[in-house]
């Protein structure tokens, strides 16, 4: 089966080259493919982070989408903080490496999810004074590790 496939070489490069850099396409090598693309958001209020007078949210599986690929695919998440940056700045997210809050992106063989976790359980004071909204864009690829 390895005798079949498609190769398209770069201008001036030989189709018999063994160097992947000489090709625009060689089906021997996989190429990243986006499979599911979407967006969601999460809003945290002052009460959500106040254990004394509010109803602090310690854990919330607020988003899940099924991909049903049967394997764990690669994914990328971008996020922005709309109120801070006017919604115009999107950065690649790795969750929140913060003492109080984690945003955890999780991918199983069937679904992708985003979870909010409040981690500073010993501090009863609210962590924010005004509501804050995070917006997320996710890209689920077909690539299986």
């Amino acid at each position: 089966m390895g005798d079949y496939g498609i190769k398209v070489s770069l201008p001036g490069k030989s189709i018999t080259s063994s160097n992947i850099e000489d090709y625009v396409l060689w089906s021997k090598y996989d190429i990243p493919k986006t499979y599911l693309v979407g967006s969601t958001s999460y809003t945290l209020t002052t009460d959500d982070t106040n254990a004394t007078t509010g109803t602090r949210v310690d854990h919330n599986d607020f988003f899940q989408v099924n991909h049903n690929l049967g394997y764990r695919p690669y994914f990328i998440v971008f996020w922005n903080v709309g109120s801070d940056y006017g919604g115009g700045i999107w950065v690649k997210s790795v969750g929140f490496p913060n003492a109080h809050v984690f945003m955890n992106y999780h991918c199983t063989t069937t679904y992708f999810s985003i979870t909010y976790d409040y981690t500073n359980y010993s501090d009863p004071n609210p962590q924010i004074t005004v509501p804050i909204t995070w917006n997320f864009k996710y890209y689920i690829f077909l690539q299986q590790a």
């Binding site: 089966m1 390895g2 496939g5 498609i6 398209v8 992947i20 850099e21 625009v24 396409l25 089906s27 021997k28 090598y29 996989d30 190429i31 990243p32 493919k33 986006t34 499979y35 599911l36 979407g38 945290l44 991909h67 690929l69 049967g70 764990r72 690669y74 994914f75 990328i76 998440v77 971008f78 801070d84 115009g88 700045i89 999107w90 950065v91 690649k92 997210s93 790795v94 969750g95 929140f96 490496p97 913060n98 109080h100 809050v101 945003m103 955890n104 992106y105 999780h106 991918c107 199983t108 962590q127 924010i128 004074t129 804050i132 864009k137 890209y139 077909l142 690539q143 299986q144 590790a145």
Partner: protein
């Protein structure tokens, strides 16, 4: 001799006629470079992988839990705590195993697509009647599942057209001074998906990052490095406090 650009392969995404599809409606076009995955695998914490490509390649990584599921929540991608790459080796010191994908493309390449078609075609009514798929080596194209296809023009479970990422523009520069901003025009007319890599000037290996930020006690965010993109340009603001070297890949995929 005929222009070499007269020949090639072009495949539109499901639902769009290939003759009138815009660049972002294409699944594949041999007019534009892609990001072939040269290496993929698992790299344990504290380990290295020798890719020996001889240049700085772009790469993805994702962390893996003991259950095998993937997650992305540690934020430990900076400096010696991160996953980073140089011209020969991928390093993992993030604290857990990662799955990595290393692409055969030199990050330190200046490239801009020679032709740009941003006029979208109207979608068709029979998106699944036509298509194109190429299986990986050793796989029967008639029976191969998604993961064993190199090119696949079908639809996802959610009905979205699958597409390969196609490169529109790449570039690099060294020694962007602390506090400075630079703008890079792409002229696509829409906000594209992009990848960004940087290192502190003079340091090696490259760190992998799209941006860096600090989450403050009040949950506000301080962006240390701000690569942001609009419908016309990529803007890089260096707030790291040190001069940086950077490289970027702007894809034809629409961010929104």
């Amino acid at each position: 001799m005929a222009d070499v650009n007269d020949y090639g392969i072009k495949v539109s995404r499901a639902g769009f006629p290939v003759l009138t599809a815009s660049d972002r409606q294409l699944l594949y076009s041999s007019s534009f470079p892609t990001l072939p995955i040269a290496f993929t695998g698992t790299l344990n914490d504290g380990s290295t992988f020798a890719h020996n490509l001889g240049y700085f390649p772009p790469y993805f990584f994702i962390q893996q839990q003991s259950s095998g599921d993937f997650f992305d929540n540690s934020g430990k991608v900076f400096g010696a705590d991160g996953v980073r790459i140089d011209t020969t080796t991928l390093y993992n010191n993030i604290g857990v195993s990662v799955i990595y994908y290393i692409m055969a493309y030199n990050l330190r390449t200046n490239y801009t697509a020679s032709n740009i078609d941003t006029t979208d075609a109207t979608g068709g009514a029979t998106p699944q009647d036509y298509g194109f798929k190429v299986s990986k080596d050793g796989q029967d194209v008639l029976t191969a599942g998604h993961t064993n296809l190199n090119i696949f023009s079908g639809l996802s479970v959610g009905g979205q057209p699958v597409r390969q990422v196609i490169i529109h523009q790449t570039g690099f520069a060294d020694n962007l001074a602390a506090g400075n901003t630079t703008n890079i025009s792409h002229n696509l007319g829409y906000v594209p998906l992009f990848l960004f890599f940087y290192r502190i000037n003079g340091n090696t290996p490259y760190k992998y990052w799209f941006s860096s930020y600090t989450v403050n006690g009040d949950l506000s965010v301080t962006l240390n490095l701000q690569p942001t993109i609009s419908s016309t340009q990529l803007t890089i603001y260096n707030n790291t406090g040190s001069a940086i070297d950077y490289a970027y890949i702007i894809l034809k995929d629409n961010f929104s």
